[in-house]
Structures are given as C-alpha cells and as structure tokens.
C-alpha cells in the first residue's frame, strides 16, 4: 500500500476530488496547509507598507491506495491539479506498512 500526498492549489480541490472519485478512490483526507516552493510568496500592502507573505495557502490531500493503483492515482491527481503555472504544487507517494479500519478491525488492503 502507498500513501499519496498532494499539495495543490486550493481552487483545484474540487476537480481533483471529482477525478479521484471517477477513478474509484473511496476516501481521502483534506487539510488546509500553507507553504511555498519556487513560487515563493506574494506581496500585500497595508497603509502603504509592503508585506511579503512567504507562506501561501495550499490544500494538502491524502489518499491511501493499493500498490497497483499508485502510479495511476498520481497521474489522475497531477492531471486534475495542473494549470501549467508556477505554484501548482507537488504529489508524492510513501510506502505504508499497514492500515486498519477502526470500525471492523480489518487489516491491509481490505481496510482501504
């Protein structure tokens, strides 16, 4: 099993979610995040004083997937989240030892 983590632009969340659902992904965890990459931050002006805001709002999306699906799911997320402009985000996967569904106690792939 793998954990897919995607940092994406907040306004692309709905499209990514819809694409994942269409692929057959049954659940996900979404949280608000902030950070920056090559995009760096943005500038705001208050009473004439400029503030460079380093950390820009992002959405962090996490999905647990079977090893066999991992590469496809990454492609689905990347395709849906892409605008082609700087600041689109990143997607990565990490190996997962075990998953347990709390309600039933099922382990591994059965718990996905």
């Amino acid at each position: 099993m793998k954990l897919l983590t995607a940092i994406i632009k907040p306004h692309k969340l709905d499209e990514v979610k819809a694409a994942l659902e269409a692929f057959g992904v049954q659940g996900m965890t979404v949280s608000e995040a902030s950070g920056y990459g090559r995009q760096r931050g943005h500038t705001e002006v208050y009473r004439g004083a400029e503030y460079t805001v380093d950390l820009v709002p992002k959405v962090r999306l996490e999905v647990l997937v079977d090893d066999a699906d991992a590469a496809d799911v990454v492609e689905v997320v990347v395709k849906a989240a892409q605008t082609g402009r700087i600041g689109d985000g990143k997607v990565w996967t990490t190996p997962v030892d075990d998953v347990v569904r709390v309600r039933t106690g099922e382990h591994g792939v059965d718990a996905l």
Partner: protein
Amino acid sequence: MDTGDTAWVLASAALVLLMTPGLALFYGGMVRTKSVLNMMMMSFGALALISVLWVLYGYSIAFGDDLGAGLVGDPTQFIGLKGLLGDSNLVFTVPAMAFVAFQAVFAIITVALISGAIADRAKFGTWMVFSGIWATIVYFPVAHWVFAFDGATAGEDSVGGWIANRLGAIDFAGGTAVHINAGAAGLALALVLGKRVGFGKDPMRPHNLTLVMIGAGLLWFGWFGFNAGSAIGANGIAAVAWVNTMVATGAAALGWLITEKLRDGHATSLGAASGVVAGLVAITPSCSSVNPVGAILLGLVAGVVCAFAVGLKYKLGYDDSLDVVGVHLVGGIWGTLAVGFLATADAPAGVDGLFFGGGVSQLGKQAVGAGAVLVYSFVVTYILGLILQKTIGFRIDTEDEVSGIDLAAHAESAYDLASSSTGTFRPTSGSVSVTSQEVPA
C-alpha cells in the same frame, strides 16, 4: 429648557458612546490574533474608568468655574455632579446632566484613541493607571481650555477656558482637545514604550479587516453625534455640521484610495477605513465654520496627507502601531488649521478664513491653539509615561509579547476556531466543586 435640543443631545451622547466600542473593533482588527482582546480591552477599560472619574470630578475640572488664566476649572464645584440634578440647571437650552452625559463620552474616546499607539505591548494595569492620571491632568484641563465657554456651564458670571474665550480659536467638536491631544499623547507613549519586537522586520498584518471596516462604519455613525451633537441643540448648526461631516469623510476616503491606487497600485479596504477616520478627524474642529464644498476640499486633503503621514513612522523609526499620529495628530492639525484657510462667514461660526478674505488672524489663532495642546499633551504624557515605566513598569515581558499579550494579560484567546484542544473544565476557579445534584433547580 428645550425638549427638542435635550432629545438631540442625549441621543448624540449615546451615538458618541458607541464610537468607543467601534474604535475597539477598528483597532482590534488591525492587530494580530494574539493581541486583539488586549487591544479591545484598552478601549473598554477607558469606557469603564473614565465614566466614573468624569462623574466624580472630571466634569468639574473641565466645566467648573475657572481657577485662573483659563487653565483649569474648579474641581470641587461640581464634585460628584453635586448641584446639577435639578431641571433648573441649564447649559444653553439643555439640562446640565444632558451636557454632562455628552461631554463624558468625549473624555472616554480621547483616552481610548491613545491605545492604538502602544498595541501589543502595554501592561493592562499600567494602562488603566495611566488612563486615570492622563484624563485627570491632561484631558480634563484641556477640555476646559477648549470647550468651557464663559458663563455657560458654571453660572452666569463664570469664566471658561483660554482657547475658547481669550484666544478665540474655533474648535467646534474637538480637533485640538480630542485628536491633537490623543495623537500627541500616542506619540509620547510610543516613544516611551519603544518598538514592538520585530517592528519593521516581521510582518504585522491586520488579522481581520472586516472588523476594521465595521469599526470604521460605527465610528462614522457615532461621529454624527460627536459633530452635529456639539451644536448642543437640534438646529441649523447641527444640520450644517452633519452634512459637512458626511461629505468631508467621503472625500477623505476618496483621497486616501486615489493616493494608494497611484502610489501602491491597489485601492485597499484598510485605506478606505483609514480615509474615513482621517476625514472625520479633520472635519471635527471645522464642521461649523466651512461650507459643504469647503468640507469636500478639506476632506480630500486630509485623505491624501494622512495616507502619506502613516508612512512617517518607518522613516523616523517610532512604532506608533496603529497610526494614532498619522491619522489623529496629523488629521487634527490639518482640520484645526484648515479653519483658518477655509472658514466662510456663510457658515454658522460666521468667520472668514484666508481664502475668503478674512486674512491670517484666524489662522494664527488656530495655530496657537493647536500648538499649545500638542506641546502640553506631548510633554506631560512623556513625563507621565516615563514615571510609570520606571515605577510599576509599562511594557510587558518580551516573552509574553512574542507569545501574545491576550494570554499573558487576560488569560484568554480571542479565537477558538479549531476546537481540537483538550483540557478540563471547572465551573468556578474556587476550591468548591459543584456537582449537578447541588445546583438549585
């Protein structure tokens, strides 16, 4: 007694009282989440304390018979508002108590205005001590200078303050006594307390501009009581002051926004809110002495000048956190001097300024009045601030300042948006534990 006048003065007093909670929102939105409660508490603390002091002796110092030279009223004449309760005690055409109420809320907001200069870093207890002493030795006497007219409040033969009567400067609703006074005091305290940790380096963004906008709206609303109410009557003077207050404020917001658009590229909501307040400040002394077109010009200049003045603190290196100097001191000086330029004899005050052929004499009087209040307030506040700093301490610990004054000073957090925190709850902080069976039905 005129019942119409009385109704208007009492309603105006309530309008002006609402300005201080409005100011709390205006200031509160401009600080960071960790210090919004303390910011608002400085205004509410002033509301609580100054209302009491005003009744006990403040009114008497401001409006009692002059003790000499037009500097201070007799603090014992109306102590505890003694002798003012009956209907027969009139100030102009309204009961003395209505005038007491109206002037009380001026004292409150003047003190509260100062707090914007020392956001995030002042001990709350010391702020309260400062507020009481400052009101006593600065605001109450200065209100006497500016608002106490001969024979008006302390008997027919009574003598009032020097600026209103001997000098003859026009300050209809408090450009000097309220705004220059609070602005100069704010500058003095900002210098005494020093810069916030990270000033000029860390971003200190306003945490909630919607609060700032609501606050500016409440200030504008309440300011109709402040300016039109200062006619102490429901009459044509009040109506002129009302229209001038509306239009100067609109023009100032435009002036600020245009300045921002040209200079920074964007017209901002904080700029609109700030322009509103700058315009209100500037029209305060002058709303009875200019015509509405003059008020537009006056407001426009106020918006542009204050939009530049708020940048001075970065150049000169003082941390007037929420721009009490840039908006209230600069706006107050401009509004007070503008009487000397833009006053027209057509307006209720009946004086011509420089642009209407009145020469420079009124301008000179305005400058003396503005300068006297500025210097007195700055010097006394600076000394008072230093004494408090050296004795009971005025500034909180650096650690508390960085982690947030709300928690350190008040043991509260303003926002519990993510309720993931855990802990235990006790209904009272005492040692007696209350169970549900023991609670009376």
